[in-house]
Amino acid sequence: MTDWDIVTKSMKSRWFSTMLTVLTVAIAAGLMALLISMRSAGEDAFRRGTGNVQMLISKEPGPLASVLNSMFYAQAPGNPIAYSDYQQLASSYPFAWSVPTQLGDSFQGSPVMSTEVSFFESFEPAMGQRWLLETGRLFDAPFEIVLGADAARTHGLAIDDSIELEHGAPGAQGGHHHSEFAFTVVGILKPTGTAHDRALFTSLDSSWILHAHDRRELVFGHGIRTALDDVDDIDRNITGIYASLGNRQAALMQVLSSLRTDPNWTVANPASTVGGLFTIVSNIDQILLAMAIAVMLSSGISILVALYNSMDQRRRQIAVLRVLGASKLRVFNLVLTESAMIGLLGGFVGIVFALIAGQVVSGVLYARVGLVIEPSLPIDGYLMIVLATIALSCIAGIIPALIAYRTPVVRSLRPIG
């Protein structure tokens, strides 16, 4: 028989109240852990999706829209860039690499990115992580298509499957089905853990043929056939340019400021744009964090209430322990230990809640917006939350512990009635 046995006996004897209190603490700790882990994981996921792109050049109304649309597939960019303008730009600046991208088509809700093969060679979806093929090869002719890992899984597609695209981004108005052109799946990419996994990739030529076909149908009517030779400059549009100057950081600032003075272009530094986005989000974050702290405090009050209410029933037990030789400080510590135990259990259960809820939330985010968020904290972070929960529980346990400390032994031992 130890003090620990007395504490556990006491908790078991009021198991329902103990369980509810632990649950309240767990919800608070879990909410806190989830919010903190989601925040850092969200920021990581966004930063990860921008990969090694130092400049995203477009004609979108602002850098944030440009990054969200061209790198996270939020919406199809609305302002086309003539391919010739891209060529001129690429030759005017000392880019280490630049890749044109075009968004606006889709397959059953998944975005289709038209680009060049250099997209897979120069652009790293996450810093230091190159594209890898799960199976097949990259496209090298019109109407060949390569699938992101999630797109392949979602649509159940395999190599040599034939698909037809819709013109217009997912959910966009005025979209139409292109049954005239069948695309053949030639490759499936390995997962990258970024929004790119839910996209399909084809050549710019393929996209331009679709656009040329739409233009020609307006002139020649339905039933015409369109090939690469029918593509005019007017069809050769892109919506964004991924670019990098490599290790030339000094040149980067110069190029960025030079491009920003040109009103024709919107230039975003994706990493700083995402940073800016999270600065905005952090205000909301702080409100949520404040709410989590409020829930945490209310859970502390619920510990206080649960233990305080139990003190009436335990007065006799405490008096008996005092008669047997327990000091006032020892009974104080017994109640405080019980309170800390509730905090410890609540903290641990809360972390488990947070991990489960984090998986659910990340699954939903991935399915809805293709954002791969892996909510997790370093072990220190979880430990800090558990320690904070224990500390709060100890504070909440002080009043009941003081009641135990001051229990009048003789009066509490008097026979009832």
Binding site: D3, S13, Q317, R322, V323, G325, A326, R330, V409
Partner: protein, 236 residues
Amino acid sequence: MINQSNHPAVELSDLAYRYAIAGPIAVAVDRLIVESGEQIVITGASGGGKSTLLHLIAGLMEPSQGEIRVAGTSINGLRGSKRDRFRGQHIGMVFQTHQLLLGFSVLENVLAALMFSQIKKSQRKARALALLEELGINAPNARIDELSLGQQQRVAVARAIACSPTIVLADEPTSALDPSIASTAMDLLQNACRSNNAALICVTHDHTLVDRFDQHHRLEDLASDRAKPAGANTCP
């Protein structure tokens, strides 16, 4: 802890207790000595201060004046946790309503007393089991509320003598028991004290128990007329 010194088990001198500082004396004892292993009974009317006297000896209440020595140590001279520790090691108590820990098993109730004793941790369980067997309790893992009143009394006795006390203080130990088992319970308590060499002070209003003890005192006779509690002489 068995009293191995030459001191009496309990020695009360010039003891008085008032409920309020300027109030009348509620309990008074000019001098009372209980030798090691001796068994005495103190009788008195209900509400006469018998329980208060035991609480004073146990160090649960502060006397207004006088000294209480247990195994030669002035218990009212000890403060805080020292007094609690001393009580846990030297004094066992048996209550009218047993005051066992509900929700705990029979064995755990006895072990709870041993937690505060000087008996080595490794020997506590064996001692508790041996005591329970000696007192005829064969279900150490039974919960207290599963026992009859008579069995609960046995557990209370086992708990009181578990720490090998110098003195066992019994407060109306048979008043909650059926007369048919009260005698057996007293046998049990007295024999347990004898076999553990613990002195016994029993307070009761039951005069049928008087003949069992080495000494009998009426509470009101323990104080001189000058120090007698208010109304002491009016009690039957």
